[in-house]
Symmetry: C2
Subunit: 221 residues, 2 copies
């Protein structure tokens, strides 16, 4: 049985969960308190991070390489186009969300409000929350601009870029940090992706100490 060691609100884990679910690859989810860095865990992954996917008898780490591996081993349905230009654009946007959006938004909002509390690492810094709340506006506008020209973020088919973006936004939506009124294109895009069967497990997540807000799993938010 495939097994994913994960943390429910981690956008990197969610991206892998969405890829697996879209491809109908069954996986057992195992929550991993990676910050406690148990010896077993460090044996599974010397980098000390989640996600870790146990698949094909191997332990795989790093969400980007994991998703590329899943895509190569289970190409159907495709989450990467077949032409180099299209593949580049998907990978560029995955990097955009997992690097730039992550540093400017996810770290400042989700990690301040949730991770710090869960890990017992102190109180949120209001300076960081402010920076994150400001930065997310720019990112939602950028997404809205892309979606004016395309049905999905990287082109006219749904790809890993949409899952990377939805992974970050859904985690932030759990703590009500996304203003869905800011951009109509982004709201429509999120409604489409949220209603996919692959999204169900993510909408069912419950974090102790952080009750799920009603709009989070509502398809008509």
């Amino acid at each position: 049985m495939n097994r994913l060691f994960h943390v429910p609100l981690s956008p990197f884990c969610r991206k892998v969960r969405l890829s697996l679910a879209e491809k109908k690859i069954e996986v057992e989810l195992v929550e991993e308190k990676y910050w406690e860095r148990g010896k077993d865990f460090l044996l599974r992954n010397p980098a000390g991070k989640v996600p870790i996917l146990k698949m094909d008898g191997k332990l795989l780490s790093e969400s980007g390489p994991i998703c590329e591996y899943i895509e190569e081993r289970h190409p159907d349905p495709a989450l990467l186009p077949s032409d180099p230009e299209g593949r580049y654009e998907v990978r560029r946007l995955v990097s955009w969300f997992d690097d730039k959006f992550h540093n400017e938004v996810t770290s400042n909002l989700l990690y301040e409000r949730v991770n710090k509390k869960v890990m017992g690492a102190g109180y949120p810094e209001s300076r960081n929350i402010k920076a994150g709340a400001k930065a997310i506006k720019f990112h939602l506008d950028y997404m809205g601009w892309l979606l004016e020209q395309r049905r999905w973020l990287a082109g006219n088919t749904m790809t890993l870029a949409d899952f990377a973006a939805a992974a970050h936004l859904s985690s932030l939506d759990y703590i009500s940090d996304v203003d869905w009124n800011r951009n109509e294109n982004v709201r429509e895009w999120y409604a489409k992706i949220k209603s996919r069967p692959a999204f169900r497990s993510i909408l069912a997540d419950q974090i102790p100490g952080f009750p799920q807000p009603p709009h989070y799993s509502d398809l008509d938010f």
Copy 2:
């Protein structure tokens, strides 16, 4: 003509330069002071980072996606193996160096000593230098352990993983922050990769205010 907007000591730019050179793709190098964020530059790349590669009439950003694109458009000589497991291992190590090594070592040593001065952003923090100097030992040991089992970092052929690692280490070597006596396997690996024609342009780099140390371009260091 292809054109690469870059900064000489940026490991992300160096990884792209090495890929292009290994594949004998000619490129004009244009130094880009990205921290001054000129308007032209932000039009080229809204993410505000280097490298940016002008190729096939497009402006490409994000070093990971750029290298995958180069690989798909110019597959010969291959810098990724053909099997999914081999490709995964290369990508995992590229992520290892560009994420973990970058955060723990490159940021703490190179950015403290060089980038801060060049950008006029103050003096190096000795706490960060100390942390970087400590972390690089662990990474050199990890590389040495990999190289006990393999001829190159990700397997028995040279790949993008070697270029990612060599990009970081060569930049750190420019400021004499690599102890080549720590691990014989790592020294032999670096001597091999350093002597490739693809490395020549990198060994010729000169940074104003930071004279090149004699061992840096010496193939018998």
